[in-house]
Subunit: 479 residues, 2 copies
């Protein structure tokens, strides 16, 4: 059975596909707000029913503490399909999420976030027709491209995955920390371990008409540090020059986080870093990423191209670990003047990690570094806000080859092999707990306004996603 029959079906049924996608988007499945728990469940049921209709064995798995048959967390959609008896290819675990981010500030939306609007670009906007709604792309829209590919295969051949072995996990807490996902994975380890590879559509392309496979994301370790001095706020006239000012001391400590070459100074920080290979450097250079233009787009001059010495901007984002201060606060921050020396000052400090850095290990090393730099007379409160492992997927696996071939079949172009400086903790967790590598085949664009007002997914991207998933099924069954 070939890709072309499924592709023809997709093309013929595009309007119905969009209708289903819009249906799902109308359910306000905001996971972080308990008031939306009922909507989250409806969104999960909607997805389960689609999978059942497509021939999967699908159910909702309750999460968190379960009473009266319902969990304190949002349910996870778990589905699997009986492969064709002759199928010998990889078993694919498709992961996605049905929950969405909150919509505030709602006043900045041009239309109701949960009344999807189909329209062209506004004057000055690039791109073509799109659906505007919360979750349009992240991640309902991307999951829909997979579901519609299955529907086309089902219609064309009678089997939603063309006979291939697929397990489906669609969770409802990705936007609120995935706190119940690891317990779920451990509880279903035997079932999930049957998979050979994980496939996720929650990333982007290199640009319009530039399909890409993301073969790595960075890990994350997120911390909060508070430096305490006196047990009360002090008058800076009476105490200035006589005791530690925790703000001054905190700036003195944090200023030492990077050396003059912008390398992180924490001992052992780079021990587990896998160097960027010559081949990767050459591949990334060939993408001709324009850092100057990217800086200009955020209002910065070329002189703002700063970072670890000896690496290009894209190498620093995709292949090198970083330390960033995400927040800082202490003392008087209102209007005008107040001559206070505060009792404490705080900062949020996070690290983006590359394989094989362990977030817990990095946090431990950072906390030790803080303690080794404790200013005289002061003490720390150190809080671990956790994070996740980074992952790098081998680019020569059957699934990676299938994804590459699928994107070429779907778009006519060989996909770029890219990484992302962001973090997708679920991939690191699946690698850690199940040994699974993840292929990130995503169809978003940089300007999709993910997590922001007026989130959108363009129809060209949606169509490409449907075709690519249909082609992936073709190539994986031929693998």
């Amino acid at each position: 059975m070939s890709f072309s029959a499924a592709a023809d079906t997709l093309a013929a049924n595009l309007e119905a596909s969009i209708d289903r996608w819009v249906d799902w988007l109308k359910i306000p499945s905001i996971s972080t707000d308990p008031a939306y728990a009922g909507h989250c469940r409806r969104a999960a049921e909607w997805c389960r029913d689609q999978l059942t209709e497509l021939g999967f064995t699908a159910s909702l798995v309750e999460t968190g503490t379960v009473t009266d048959g319902k969990g304190s967390g949002h349910p996870i959609v778990l589905a699997s399909i009986e492969p064709a008896g002759s199928y010998k290819g990889p078993h694919v675990l498709f992961y996605g999420h049905y929950d969405v981010q909150p919509v505030d500030p709602v006043s900045l939306w041009h239309s109701d976030p949960f009344q999807p609007v189909r329209r062209g670009p506004l004057p000055g906007e690039p791109g073509g027709e799109r659906i505007v709604a919360r979750g349009a792309v992240d991640d309902k829209g991307q999951v829909m491209t997979f579901l519609e590919a299955c529907r086309a295969w089902k219609q064309a051949t009678g089997h939603a995955t063309g006979g291939a072995a697929y397990t489906i996990v669609i969770e409802g807490e990705e936007e609120s920390g995935s706190v119940n996902l690891q317990p779920f994975v451990l509880a279903h380890k035997k079932l999930l371990s049957a998979a050979d590879v994980c496939l996720i559509s929650d990333t982007g392309m290199l640009g319009r008409n530039k399909p890409a496979i993301t073969y790595g994301v960075r890990g994350l370790a997120y911390t909060q540090v508070t430096l305490h001095a006196s047990n009360q706020d002090l008058h800076s006239g009476l105490w200035g020059g006589r005791c530690p000012n925790p703000i001054t001391e905190l700036t003195r400590v944090l200023s030492q986080l990077h050396d003059k070459n912008r390398r992180v100074t924490i001992p052992g920080f780079y021990d587990k870093v896998v160097p960027i290979s010559k081949k990767e450097r050459a591949n990334w250079a060939a993408l001709k990423f324009n850092q100057k233009a990217a800086l200009k787009a955020i209002g910065l001059p070329p002189a703002a191209d700063i970072g670890e010495k000896g690496f290009t901007a894209i190498e620093r984002e995709w292949g090198r670990p970083t330390a960033e201060i995400n927040g800082i606060w202490g003392g008087y921050t209102g209007e005008g003047a107040k001559t206070v020396i505060p009792a404490h000052a705080s900062a949020k400090v996070s690290f983006r990690l590359v394989a094989n850095q362990n977030p817990a290990d990095i946090t431990k090393r950072f906390f030790k570094w803080c303690k080794d730099h404790t200013p005289s007379g002061c003490r720390w409160d150190l809080t671990d806000h956790h994070g996740g492992f980074g992952v790098t997927t081998p680019i020569d696996s059957p699934a990676m080859r299938a994804a590459s071939a699928a994107l070429k079949s779907a778009s006519g172009k060989a996909p770029a092999l890219i990484k992302s400086g962001g973090s997708i903790p679920v991939a690191g967790m699946l690698k850690d707990k199940l040994g699974l590598d993840t292929v990130f085949m995503g169809f978003g664009l940089d300007d999709d306004r993910v997590h922001s007002p007026n989130e959108k997914f363009e129809l060209d991207c949606f169509r490409l996603g449907c075709r690519a998933h249909a082609a992936f099924i073709h190539h994986i069954t031929s693998a």
Copy 2:
């Protein structure tokens, strides 16, 4: 005429003195809140009427823009008294203020801030009977000690200042920046220039039963600096390591404000600093100030005794300039984790100055230093929140000798000669505009909770103040 007659009158009339003091405290003259403008005017009128009763020529001077006879600022009480024809001593300008700080957090008060309570100490509190109210000490209570001394002299001799030349200025905006005081001083320059010395009771003693004269306060320059990088908040995964993080950059700049000896690194910062003389060092050492105990009282170990190398704690507070970060903020400061690189980060940076440092000059030098340290690709917004000159009063003037003798007559003890690390901008302004030195003869205690809930002034301190001002009149007329 001797001090003893006035002292006897004071002792006999103490209860009536307290009643008048309490009367004034009941008027909620909070200057910073426009809703209290009427109360401020009532407090000014109350004071004017007292002075008139005592034989002064007293009036309210409107401030700010004046329409319909009333000013947009709070009125200043201006009064003078005809000296005895034979009087040849110094002309004294007595300065005080009738306005008070806001009372929040009001829930922490044990009684209504404007229903003064006379009571003993609570269990565990040191000291004796006191009046608890907003303004009890700062500055109505201290001004009252002067007014009651005048009343005793008036009763005993018929002349409220024993024949000496006094001009009185009681302003109503000290707690909200004294914005209309300098215009007032310039508009009344001829009248006020007749004074030879300024006398202020708005400071404290060295401790209970340890009277003191403060012969110097530090100046202040207060600024706000904001460092801008990108024109929008950025995702730390996508941008971490590729562009300036304004928090990181700000900490790197501010960490250079002090060198390893805790000296301020701004070029020229120390140019106008008058060194502490050998004699002053010896005098201050003789006070046996206990820095360890002071640190312990605010929860700090002896190791927290940090400051400019080569100086004792008291030398650093009284005789050396300092740089302090009074506030810092930027990025995400809420609960949990947000992986943001913010567009900007800010800090409040202030400097305590010693004669002859000019606040405007120091601010200018600091801003130049910021610009010289501008991180690559970033830009500054620099705001001057102003401040004031420091002052040091020559200790061998007739007024200083009179104050010293007065405190000895009133208490039986020679007063300590101390300085304060805080700032009283009015003194610097009077020196700058009128060439007047200021004698600070104050009766407060460190634990009076000035600006805080449950402000108090102890009756022993109040009594000492009344006696001291009465004795000062005696000694100044004998000078």
